[in-house]
């Protein structure tokens, strides 16, 4: 870990943030890709292939029975993984010692962490080599206990910033987030949309004005063109459903990686 100035003093920079800052400071755009943990026998190979294809960091989804921020694609992937016997324990066990090649963050819902116990959950992430964690149903108002535990254990809690947030709320989110600040690209749940929402550009711009933390936009980034457009105003994108759809379609690790390479190429060529 290293330290970075900005956002009101010295903050600890973990592996996710370090790699994203390096990409940004080198003039590039960041690409974080979501892979559903436990989906099929080859999800870990998929994660490695996604890293090789140019993702800067990977979100590993730990499936939850009631994912209220997720649209049909990730819901389906969740259900398939759960039906296949995936649990938080099997996923974290698989990650332990698996060198994926880029920093990892898990994305799951708060009850998974709450049920395990926040300390035990954070320690499990750390011992599995997972650097960060995204909990989309844990807003700032309820995040205190988790932020404390994450800081103690050294996990980067990645917070979301929504298009509906008033101006006064965004600096508070940016001050508490680690890794990056996850700008929610639209009013709605995860999933591919035909057009990039105007709100994606807007949230990226609003966040960039107030923070030095990497600003990534996710939710509704389904094509390389949309990724390029959203990245013009922020530091990069999170791509989930478009990639997960390929996992659901069982195209194999290389097939998934092919799409990720298209995003990488487009972001590099802009």
């Amino acid at each position: 870990m290293s330290a970075a100035a900005g956002d009101g003093g010295t903050r600890v920079v973990g592996p996710v943030e370090a790699v994203l800052r390096a990409r940004r400071d080198g003039g590039g755009k960041c690409l974080v890709v979501y892979v559903t943990g436990g989906l099929g026998d080859d999800w870990l190979d998929t994660a490695r292939a996604v890293a090789d294809a140019g993702a800067d960091a990977i979100e590993i989804g730990i499936p939850f029975s009631d994912p209220v921020m997720d649209g049909p694609t990730i819901q389906t992937a969740n259900d398939l993984a759960l039906d296949g016997g995936a649990t938080p324990v099997t996923i974290l066990d698989a990650l332990r010692g698996a060198d994926v090649g880029v920093p990892l963050a898990v994305m799951t819902y708060y009850n998974i962490a709450y049920r395990m116990g926040l300390e035990r959950f954070a320690s499990s992430l750390a011992s599995a080599g997972v650097a960060g964690c995204i909990l989309p149903d844990l807003p700032l108002e309820e995040a205190g206990p988790w932020l404390d535990v994450a800081a103690q254990v050294g996990v980067e809690p990645i917070l979301l910033a929504a298009p509906t947030a008033p101006d006064e709320r965004l600096p508070r989110i940016c001050a508490s987030t680690r890794g990056f600040v996850y700008g929610v690209g639209l009013l709605g749940v995860t999933g591919v949309r035909a057009e990039l929402a105007a709100s994606a550009v807007e949230i990226a711009s609003r966040l960039k004005r107030i923070t030095d933390v990497p600003v990534l936009v996710g939710v509704g980034i389904g094509t390389p063109d949309q990724a390029v457009e959203a990245s013009r105003h922020g530091d990069g994108v999170v791509v989930g459903s478009a990639v997960v759809q390929r996992m659901v379609d069982r195209v194999g690790p290389e097939g998934v990686a092919g799409l990720v390479a298209e995003f990488r190429t487009a972001l590099d060529a802009r």
């Binding site: 009631d66 009850n111 807003p139």
Partner: protein
């Protein structure tokens, strides 16, 4: 004790809170502020009281069940929420929330429904107030509550089938929340029970306190004081909290009756889903279990956070009854008193019937939260 306002963080003891995506936080904060302001405004209260009286038909009567009392050996009273317009207590809350939504400038009501009673109430009030209405209902419930689906459509609402997960009430809530995330600018989520994120558990309780207050006055008149026992069915727990609110300060025993297949208090451990920290049926990893009940309205693995609190401090107790006991009780009230109860309300009666020996000589008030017309088709199949 009387039922308290939750903490500023929306907690009843350790339960409650606001576990929603960031996108919805401004909406729940705005709702809380708007509710506080409206509730303190005599104009709002007068308008709501007028609708409750002239449109919903309040106050609802209290009926003494002379025939059943003789059979059971206790003095059995029913608070007749089944006689409200739309056939259940749900209208109290919907009138309150819809007026509030209008006041907040929202043009669309979004709701989830299990048995369809809350959906019908929402569709009804949307029609009255000229608002757009969209109701999510689980695919299984759409089939077993066909009549209510037709009712909602007749009233001009759009009924959307939730096909995810267990395809019952839990998933209707998920779909409604997903839709709310996308439509929060002009839609008000008219949540149907005392669950969800703060301020819903407290606000919905407040809108149902009218029934508890009436019941308190009516038992004073009938019994000369509060009853020994108050019994209500509990899914999310709105009718129960409504009637408990009238007797929490008395020495009355408060009993919530859950379905054996959806006993969040009885079988759950604290968990977070649908915006709240409350007792929840879940597995060792935190995956929410699917409830299984004959009654679509109680087919829910969670429970309102205030019930978790009342259970944890011992002010109310929560018991479970089986589907078979409910079917018995449904017929018992129909035959003995000429009142066909909702399957939900039949849970409370089933507990009274089962526990009759320990209730001998006591006065027992059951909240008859809804009428059974909607359940007749399902019962025809079950009793065939």
């Amino acid at each position: 004790m009387t039922l308290q306002e939750p903490t500023p963080e929306g907690r009843f003891g350790e339960f409650g809170g606001r576990f929603v995506p960031e996108t919805l936080i401004p909406a729940v904060l705005e709702l809380e502020e708007a509710f506080r302001e409206a509730w303190a405004d005599p104009t709002f209260r007068t308008e709501l009281d007028a609708l409750l009286a002239d449109y919903a038909g309040r106050p609802s009567p209290m009926t003494e069940c002379h025939n059943l009392s003789e059979d059971l050996g206790c003095r059995l009273l029913l608070k007749r929420e089944d006689l409200n317009h739309t056939g259940s207590h749900k209208i109290n809350n919907v009138l309150g929330q819809a007026l509030l939504a209008q006041r907040m400038g929202k043009t669309r009501l979004l709701a989830e429904t299990g048995a369809g009673q809350h959906g019908v109430a929402t569709a009804t009030v949307a029609a009255l107030l000229g608002m757009e209405c969209c109701v999510y209902m689980g695919e299984i419930d759409v089939k077993r509550q066909e009549l209510n689906v037709f009712r909602m459509r007749l009233l001009g609402a759009e009924v959307r089938t939730a096909v995810s997960g267990s395809r019952t009430l839990k998933d209707a809530v998920n779909e409604a929340m997903r839709n709310w995330v996308a439509t929060v600018t002009d839609s008000h989520y008219c949540l149907g029970s005392v669950n969800g994120p703060h301020p819903y558990p407290w606000m919905v309780r407040t809108f149902h306190e009218v029934l508890g207050l009436e019941a308190r006055h009516q038992s004073e008149a009938l019994l000369g004081g509060p009853p020994d026992v108050v019994v209500a069915c509990v899914g999310g727990g709105s009718n129960a909290i409504g009637i408990f609110s009238g007797f929490a300060d008395a020495e009355t025993e408060l009993v919530g009756v859950e379905p054996a297949g959806g006993a969040a208090v009885g079988r759950g451990v604290p968990g977070v889903v649908h915006g709240m920290d409350s007792y929840l049926m879940q597995d060792e990893f935190g995956q929410v279990l699917e409830a299984e009940s004959i009654s679509a309205g109680l087919d829910y693995p969670g429970v309102g956070p205030e019930h978790s609190h009342l259970a944890s401090i011992g002010r109310a107790r929560y018991e479970a009854v089986t589907d078979d006991e409910v079917v018995e009780a449904f017929q018992m009230l129909s035959r003995s008193e000429g009142i066909i109860p909702a399957l939900e309300s039949a849970h409370a009666l089933a507990w009274v019937s089962r526990e009759r020996d320990s209730l001998v000589g006591k006065s027992v008030l059951v909240n008859l939260s809804g009428r059974g017309d909607k359940d007749v088709a399902q019962m025809m199949d079950i009793l065939a």
